[in-house]
Symmetry: C2
């Protein structure tokens, strides 16, 4: 594997992040979007919080509908309650409904060298919409001209949708609403218009036939999306047999759009792969890595809040061909690894 992990990994741990309020703890700081900004590197972390609670209960923190700015209420459930159903560390069911064990917001971290980060003390994008009542997750940042477009998962009782926000200075942010209805996540907006249209890869979940495939969509304004076309599917028997989804914003290369995506197998082991799509028609797949370009092998990738996971929401492509991939490890920490465009292209089938 030609992806070299940073020696400083994990770059950011939950203990490095100040809780957003006194009655919660930060359990995960991971799955960051990233951008070059103001001579340094900006990360937009997903920070997951939950109230301190006893071993015999589980708690779902939920945005309070009467206080959408910052208020939370806590659904506390006794694990002995016959209406409680344990799923995994991230999710439980209660009285037939699905809840998350933490609520995520998005928070900035800043660095001059891309290795040593200072995390902001306060949330950057806290859940605000009813469709975000269970949290805002997994941001991707795409710079187009002078704006940075941030898309993220908006989670609620109604499912996992994708919302958009926009900033020019990473100080003020304009929320632009839900751009993909549930369930749809892992949206990566391309960094330039093609044929006059904005494009993105997205990952609808097709319930009826049990599919989780990557699709292409186009837009005239980044707010309204259409002309959906299938891109690629899971591969039975492979490391990405169970699910696939976009990861980092696609990188333009001479051979095509290079995407770092994630795939999971039936055991919920998440790896990163490389996908190459046509420069003009990025629903056409030109190549795909048969083996992962990064698999959970380091200690901090194998154990944690939800182990055996590496999951990227962003990468920085440098002019010299180097690519810094930021990724979450074990749904808990923020890490990075270095590779090159040539190395990734060499992995394609």
């Amino acid at each position: 594997m030609s992806m070299i992990r940073f020696q400083e990994n994990p770059l950011i741990r939950p203990a490095d992040v100040k809780p957003s309020r006194d009655d919660v703890e930060v359990v995960c700081a991971f799955n960051c979007g990233c951008a070059s900004f103001d001579g340094g590197i900006i990360l937009l972390l997903r920070v997951a919080e939950r109230p301190v609670h006893g071993p015999h209960e589980v708690v779902a923190p939920i945005l309070h509908p009467d206080d959408l700015g910052r208020g939370l209420h806590f659904l506390r459930v006794d694990r002995q309650d016959p209406a409680f159903e344990d799923i995994d560390p991230r999710v439980f069911r209660y009285q037939g409904r699905t809840y998350l064990t933490s609520i995520s917001h998005l928070r900035l971290a800043r660095s001059a060298d891309g290795r040593n980060f200072r995390v902001d003390d306060a949330p950057t994008l806290f859940p605000l919409l009813r469709a975000e009542e269970f949290g805002t997750e997994d941001p991707r940042i795409t710079r187009i001209e002078d704006s940075y477009y941030i898309n993220y998962s908006a989670v609620s009782r109604w499912g996992v949708a994708t919302a958009l926000a926009e900033t020019r200075d990473f100080k003020t942010f304009e929320r632009r609403g839900i751009i993909f209805a549930p369930d749809n996540r892992d949206v990566t907006i391309f960094p330039e218009r093609i044929g006059g249209r904005y494009l993105c890869h997205h990952r609808p979940m097709a319930a009826m036939f049990g599919r989780q495939d990557i699709w292409l969509a186009e837009s005239t304004d980044l707010l309204h999306w259409g002309n959906h076309r299938f891109v690629c599917a899971c591969r039975p028997g492979a490391w990405d047999a169970h699910k696939v989804g976009g990861g980092a914003v696609p990188i333009r290369t001479e051979r095509g759009w290079l995407s770092i995506y994630h795939g999971a197998d039936e055991s919920q082991r998440y790896c990163l792969g490389a996908l190459l799509t046509d420069l003009e028609e990025p629903d056409k797949v030109l190549g795909r890595s048969t083996q992962p370009v990064l698999a959970p092998e380091a200690d901090y990738e194998r154990a944690g809040f939800f182990g055996n996971v590496v999951f990227s929401c962003g990468a920085i492509a440098q002019d010299d061909g180097r690519v810094i991939v930021y990724y979450g490890s074990s749904d808990e920490h923020t890490c990075a690894a270095e590779t090159t465009v040539d190395d990734l292209l060499a992995k394609l089938d």
Copy 2:
């Protein structure tokens, strides 16, 4: 119940429809969109066909990828094959994949009086896209100015998406591609712009939390959709406990947008209900019928290809307040019933 069934029901039966090719039979002619056109009534039927086959096999007709215009191939499966899994008359699974037992196309039927229809001999919109390889289903027709916009379910191995076509004369049709990625169906486009935007109700299927709710979306061009907002959900314990979805194109009334929608309970019994949403912000629900406005009670609604189903894709609202609701019965026939706007409004809670 103040909805009066037409004495002529079923108006159209499968035997009234000429097969699109010699080696298939028409098994269902149902779930039609409708429009007033040229002094009469146009129905756009969903016509489901399958090859004649023996009792010991099941056959999935699939659009041939090398002949997207009209070619089909037939996946024949022995019911004794251990890789075969029976689901219901509409669907089976084989080797872990989901297939349909018939393939649907859309076909016009024409009438001067709205009761006696002549079905065209040839398909109007036959599956054409790869994303339509399992069929085109359940059209809705919305007239806006001089154009008729037809949205329909595009079904393939990748799930159930929604596609758009446009016509001005019901002779030539322009296909406009996939407007909602899978799984999303039951799209009803409003018949006028509101605040400069086109609107629709749509019904994503949120796999992760097992939801099938009605949402609102907006568009500037009918091709790209965004600003998704939740409208309404299933009601536990009610006749619409298991799924809901848009039916007929919303009708403007003084009190709000009146929609005839479908709901199913846990036993897959499909009924029609009424929904009233705000004229300016049709994600706001003003009323909803606690009881069905039409339930499967007639013989042709209780027995058939998939019994205990009434399902509407269109209604004709007349200037005098009468509403003719066209609907499919038992996933097999085309029927109609008459009611009034006032009667429907009186059913709201």
